[in-house]
Symmetry: C3
Subunit: 156 residues, 3 copies
């Protein structure tokens, strides 16, 4: 028997990746009561960062948006582990913080980070609507184009 979020993922043609292992001395998520704090996710696929470089200078806006979506898929993969495999336990995507690797005069961070936000609302509907902060970083680990962290509320 599959849950309703799993069915929705299937409808969208999404197969969640293996949750990336932490790149250094930390863990992918920590749960405190109903809150799950998930570590910043880069667009890694099978251990390899798939979008590298700065938006505008090296990477087109549309590609940066696609990179943010990959970050969000990694968030969901971590979240599924935090929910012991049952994404129907997700009550709310509380907040995403999106960091964009960009030129110093780039101004379209919201359009980039929408790649992550759109996925959340596609998958979770109303429960996927979240508070958000989108900024540019000075630079990002491994030269990644985007990094997204998240806080989720789940049924404990």
């Amino acid at each position: 028997m599959t849950g309703s979020v799993d069915r929705r993922l299937a409808e969208l043609g999404i197969v969640l990746p293996q949750p990336p292992v932490a790149a250094a001395n930390y863990v992918p998520f920590v749960r405190v009561g109903a809150l799950v704090f998930i570590s910043g996710q880069t667009p890694r696929v099978d251990g390899k960062v798939t979008f590298i470089g700065k938006v505008a200078r090296d990477v087109a806006l549309a590609d940066a948006n696609a990179a943010a979506r990959v970050c969000a898929l990694n968030l969901l993969a971590q979240l599924r582990v935090a929910c012991d495999g049952d994404l129907d336990r997700v009550v709310r995507c509380v907040r995403l913080t999106g960091y964009v690797n960009s030129d110093p005069d780039f101004a379209a961070q919201p359009q980039v980070v929408n790649g992550a936000s759109d996925l959340m609302t596609q998958v979770f509907g109303e429960r996927g609507r979240h508070a958000r902060t989108a900024v540019s970083a000075g630079s990002l680990p491994s030269g990644a184009t985007v990094e997204v962290e998240g806080i989720f509320e789940i049924v404990t």
Copy 2:
């Protein structure tokens, strides 16, 4: 009958703006239990960012401080909605994170973000004293000079 925070706002000559609508696919705030997570606010007034450019290069420190105050007014406008119009329900300003759009060698982020912090203590007194992180971003949405996000504790 007006609450004590509303009276304090009137004493300070502050009329809170209309809460800015989210600039992309997210919501202005999410409440989880007693915590309200408010999305990053830029110094938008009537839908238009009022302070644009990098501190030092384009914008003077005093103007950047004023920009941070506008961000904080927008936080309060969102918070009032989160409190169903009653700011007396605010228990504490828990944390502000201020992102400054600056030259790469700018070092006075605290003085900029004080524009937001000072407003919180003026309005809420002891309850307005918060934890804080102030950093420069690489750049900010719409070229805004400052962006501030906040977490508040409220009576549920």
Copy 3:
């Protein structure tokens, strides 16, 4: 009678510093229920930032890692106050966010921020394992090389 975390600090040869006073109009931490939100800490020692400048351009990676450790010592000093002096009340280091002051093409933020993360696991063991986000800032207060903020869960 000393607690087990205090004994562990002694074993590691660590004497926690005086908790730095806030550099501007905010407080070092706010507690909400079991969560302690600690303000961003720079590598200040006795009121003076000890590591200044950008990684790669001005500061070597190993020194930046050492700077992150000093930030983490300051976090622990604040946390001890939040625990009324008893670090055995710490249930979990929930999340660290590390901001690195670097060149725009720096990509080794995780190795820098490990200076903070390693300290947490040395001091708290399994309870020190945390979620994390590591990014570069555009620049940092007083030109500090690193700034780290933290969220901890404690016994109330």
